[in-house]
């Protein structure tokens, strides 16, 4: 097996725009906000960046095709810039491109940057994606919540959980994120919400109510990566390195054969096994210090706790209700910054925004929400839908 990229790439600078309803700026302004912070954090001049990866997903409300608009926005003159798009895994995909370029030795310093301007749609929720000339002819045109809500029916059927218990479990997931979001200045939604409000909210896609769905926001995030050697030469002492980045993508097995039972996300499990192996993690429930997972919907976060092998199968609902994933619950804090739930989900930015929280927590810079001495931070994205999607996992850690 390949040796992987563990400790071959260090993050020397990260930035994150204010997330929210950014009526004040366009995508170029969001990109600049994240990029300026990352550059300042890295303490380098812009012309040290030798290559960049730009993540954006939805063409209707973004800068358009290719990397040209991003290169123009950040005035990245003459260097190779690639646009990547892998649905909700786009931000992590941009980081992967930059990290692999550095790990290969092709460049010394690379930039990953991602942005999405969802509030330019004119409504809440994502625009319906084009699925291709063939799939558009037969696939139901369900919304994103409809795609994920079906996990609830599958999960209940598999584990014999009542509608009411599962609804309470997923409500706790959202309640927890809102509690954490209060302490997160860059989050879109910064108000605590009561369990009652969550349980009583209008239905979006059964059983997901309004508070079971993440916000629709504008935002951007960026990372500057290099080798640990160059990082040290730049004066870095506390150093965050990439321990693993793994992707797993559906081949159609879940949707077209009878092997999958609808209760979990198969590709998250595949990607997690590979990521833990690459990072050298053997007991994730004990070793992972914090997680930012793809809580596009509360049910997604709940099943992800099992798919990442933190909770045993069928136990996530109990662990969640026991507070195991709460910030001060004594377990593995999840969505310490409020997650997609409170930041919203500007698709191209989310993976990098999650890495930003892990990076800051590992460096002890997370202010009032700082955890005590985490060693590994995991982030997880789920592009597409649970049954036909892209699982992306990155694990960051302190460099020994």
């Amino acid at each position: 097996m390949a040796t992987g990229i563990k400790d071959k790439v260090a993050i020397i600078g990260m930035g994150c725009s204010q997330f929210g309803e950014r009526w004040d700026v366009g995508t170029d302004g969001l990109l600049a906000e994240a990029f300026d912070e990352a550059l300042a954090d890295a303490g380098i001049e812009k012309d040290r960046i030798e290559a960049a990866w730009f993540g954006s997903c939805i063409d209707q409300v973004n800068v358009g095709n290719s990397a040209i608009p991003a290169s123009m926005a950040l005035r990245l003159d003459g260097i190779p810039v690639s646009r990547v798009e892998n649905m909700c895994a786009t931000g992590t995909e941009a980081l992967r491109g930059a990290a692999y370029a550095v790990a290969s030795g092709a460049v010394d310093i690379a930039l990953a940057v991602g942005a999405e301007k969802l509030k330019d749609t004119g409504y809440g929720g994502l625009p319906p994606p084009y699925k291709g000339t063939f799939n558009d002819l037969w696939l139901p045109m369900g919304s994103a919540p409809a795609g994920f809500a079906q996990l609830a029916a599958g999960y209940r059927a598999r584990h014999g959980i009542s509608k009411e218990d599962l609804k309470r479990g997923i409500a706790h997931v959202s309640w927890k994120s809102h509690q954490n979001g209060v302490l997160s200045p860059k989050a879109h939604l910064r108000k605590a919400v009561t369990m009652e409000a969550i349980l009583q909210a209008p239905m979006i896609a059964e059983p997901l109510g309004l508070f079971d769905c993440c916000g629709v926001s504008d935002g951007a995030a960026a990372a500057i990566v290099t080798t640990p050697e160059i990082a040290r030469a730049l004066g870095r002492r506390d150093m965050v390195t990439i321990k693993a980045i793994q992707l797993a993508i559906s081949s159609g097995v879940e949707t077209a054969t009878s092997g999958w039972d609808g209760s979990h996300v198969r590709n998250t499990r595949v990607a997690a096994r590979r990521a833990y192996e690459e990072a050298g993690i053997t007991d994730p429930r004990r070793q992972i210090g914090l997680m930012e997972v793809h809580d596009c919907f509360s049910i997604t976060e709940l099943v992800t706790m099992e798919d990442l092998f933190i909770s045993e199968d069928g136990r996530a609902v109990h662990d969640v209700l026991d507070g195991f994933y709460d910030r001060e619950g004594g377990g593995v804090p999840c969505q310490v910054d409020g997650g997609l739930k409170c930041f919203g989900h500007p698709i191209g930015a989310s993976g990098l925004r999650m890495a930003y929280e892990n990076y800051n927590q590992l460096l002890g810079r997370a202010g009032p929400r700082q955890l005590s001495a985490p060693v590994f931070g995991l982030s997880h994205n789920l592009g597409g839908v649970p049954y036909q999607g892209i699982a992306a996992i990155s694990i960051l850690g302190l460099h020994a």
């Binding site: 749609t121 004119g122 409504y123 929720g125 319906p128 000339t133 063939f134 799939n135 558009d136 002819l137 037969w138 696939l139 139901p140 045109m141 369900g142 919304s143 919540p145 409809a146 809500a149 079906q150 996990l151 609830a152 029916a153 599958g154 209940r156 059927a157 209008p202 239905m203 979006i204 896609a205 059964e206 059983p207 997901l208 081949s251 159609g252 097995v253 949707t255 077209a256 054969t257 009878s258 039972d261 609808g262 049954y387």
Partner: protein
């Protein structure tokens, strides 16, 4: 051997609107107490004369290989979705009929179906199939709005196990304008009912009946059942009196369907065939710019014996509503604000639609010869990890009649959907195939994991900018919760 009708099928949309609700909605303009009995059938947003025809034809063909014997398909309707594009061809493709059969759209009059019946009996072509489907579009507050319904019926002809044979038939041509609809207009224009009843039905139908009885060598006293569809209450009884008919006047299916245009004569005939005994003679009349009359003799074999659900069962499979505005919206009579989500460009690639037509129209899944996996869609290689057999080696099988049940589901209130909520879920077929499908005709809160489902052919999407309508299969509960 006797030539005749060997199979019969029926379809009436599940959705039924209370006539009381229609009357109540118009009370402000009509005054008086809102009157109206029973229910009228109406098409869901994704049903039209093509989809109803497919369902009625499937009822007649059953799940056996009977469709292989179909040698021609005639589709009779005055509400076909396409003016220039073979509607019968769409029905034949959904039924997976042989490409070599002749397909034919019959339209222009509500008696198109009875005329087609006379043709088929006269030609004595084994495997001829006639499907009639109609959904008269009725102007809000018009009398026809309450009287009309929607539905489809189909018959197959042959020589084995005949349900009914022809004893005699006749037609009369008369440019009698009881109602008419110009090609570019949405609604029928109807003349005074009393004139239509007395001078039209009361005069023209008896002329056709007299000739038909003569050709059969029978008199009116030899007839047990009289089947005559009409939008005018009591018209059949009035014509029966003129004819001196003493038998049973067929049920107009008013209680739970309403007049289904071109399809109605066949639907009423189907209901009679369910109860007719061997040797019973049936007088079937079709009216519209003249009249057709057919004298049939029942064999005692019923549509149910041939495997059909038939008229009484499709009428009993119902989803009643008082939502008058829902019918208006589905009929395109009111423009609701669906929000920005409804502003989609639905232009399909007609090239891709043609390339994939065997999968989409007849719902063909591929069966891998190496590992046995049944898969939809059929991509270039087998879906089973480690198998990867090329798709050109796959066997082809339709999922349309394969038993299935519900594996996951949700009711989606966020997506644009013409009939919210959009019900979707994974459908697990008992041959191992699986796909995510839209679930049609479901009341909110009715779905459960494990619920048995059957497949129905529906409109998948209409490209409203260009008017192209495409069809695909959806799942629906086999039985609605009581």
């Amino acid at each position: 051997m006797t030539f005749g009708i060997t199979a019969f099928g029926a379809y009436v949309p599940r959705l039924r609107l209370s006539r009381q609700a229609i009357a109540t909605a118009h009370r402000w303009m009509t005054g008086g107490a809102p009157r109206g009995k029973g229910y009228r059938a109406f098409c869901n947003w994704d049903e039209d004369s093509v989809t109803m025809a497919v369902e009625a034809a499937r009822d007649a063909l059953g799940t056996a290989d009977r469709h292989k014997a179909v040698s021609s398909l005639t589709l009779a309707s005055t509400t076909l979705p396409y003016a220039d594009f073979s509607n019968a061809g769409l029905v034949a493709a959904a039924l997976d009929l042989a490409p070599s059969i002749r397909v034919d759209d019959r339209t222009g009059s509500q008696r198109a179906a009875t005329t087609a019946l006379i043709d088929a009996f006269t030609r004595e072509q084994d495997g001829a199939m006639i499907v009639a489907a109609d959904r008269p579009r009725t102007q809000p507050a018009s009398p026809l709005e309450r009287v009309c319904g929607a539905g489809a019926a189909s018959v197959v002809f042959g020589r084995d196990d005949v349900i009914a044979r022809l004893l005699g038939a006749a037609s009369v041509n008369a440019t009698f304008a009881d109602h008419f609809r110009p090609s570019d207009q949405p609604y029928d224009y109807a003349w005074e009912e009393r004139w239509v009843r007395d001078e039209g039905l009361g005069t023209i139908v008896p002329r056709a009946v007299t000739a038909a009885l003569a050709s059969a060598g029978l008199t009116i006293g030899d007839i047990r059942y009289f089947v005559m569809p009409s939008t005018i209450r009591g018209a059949a009884a009035s014509v029966a009196r003129t004819l001196g008919f003493k038998g049973d006047i067929a049920d107009p299916l008013d209680e739970d369907c309403g007049h289904a245009g071109t399809a109605h004569a066949l639907l009423m005939l189907g209901a009679v065939l369910e109860v007719a005994s061997a040797g019973d003679r049936i007088l079937l009349a079709g009216f519209g710019q003249g009249a057709d009359a057919l004298v049939l003799e029942a064999s005692g074999r019923t549509p149910a014996m041939a495997g059909a659900r038939g008229v009484s069962a499709v009428l009993a499979d119902r989803l009643a509503t008082d939502d008058y505005l829902r019918m208006l919206s589905f009929h395109g009579e009111i423009r609701l604000d669906w929000g920005m989500r409804g502003e989609k460009n639905d232009k399909p690639a007609l090239t891709e639609a043609y390339r994939a037509s065997h999968q989409l129209a007849a719902f063909k899944a591929g069966r891998c010869p190496a590992c046995g996996a049944v898969q939809f869609p059929q991509l270039a290689y087998c879906v089973t990890p480690g198998c990867g057999t090329p798709a050109q080696d796959f066997g082809q099988m339709s999922l349309a009649d394969v038993p299935a049940d519900l594996m996951t589901f949700t009711a989606d209130w966020l997506s644009y959907h013409p009939a919210p909520p959009l019900h979707v879920g994974f459908v697990q077929f008992n041959n191992g195939a699986r796909l995510m499908m839209e679930i049609a005709d479901v009341p909110v809160g009715a779905l459960e994991v494990g619920m048995p489902l059957r497949m129905v052919c529906r409109i998948k999407q209409t490209d409203t900018a260009r008017g192209f309508r495409r069809y695909f299969w959806k799942a629906t509960p086999v039985a609605l919760p009581a």
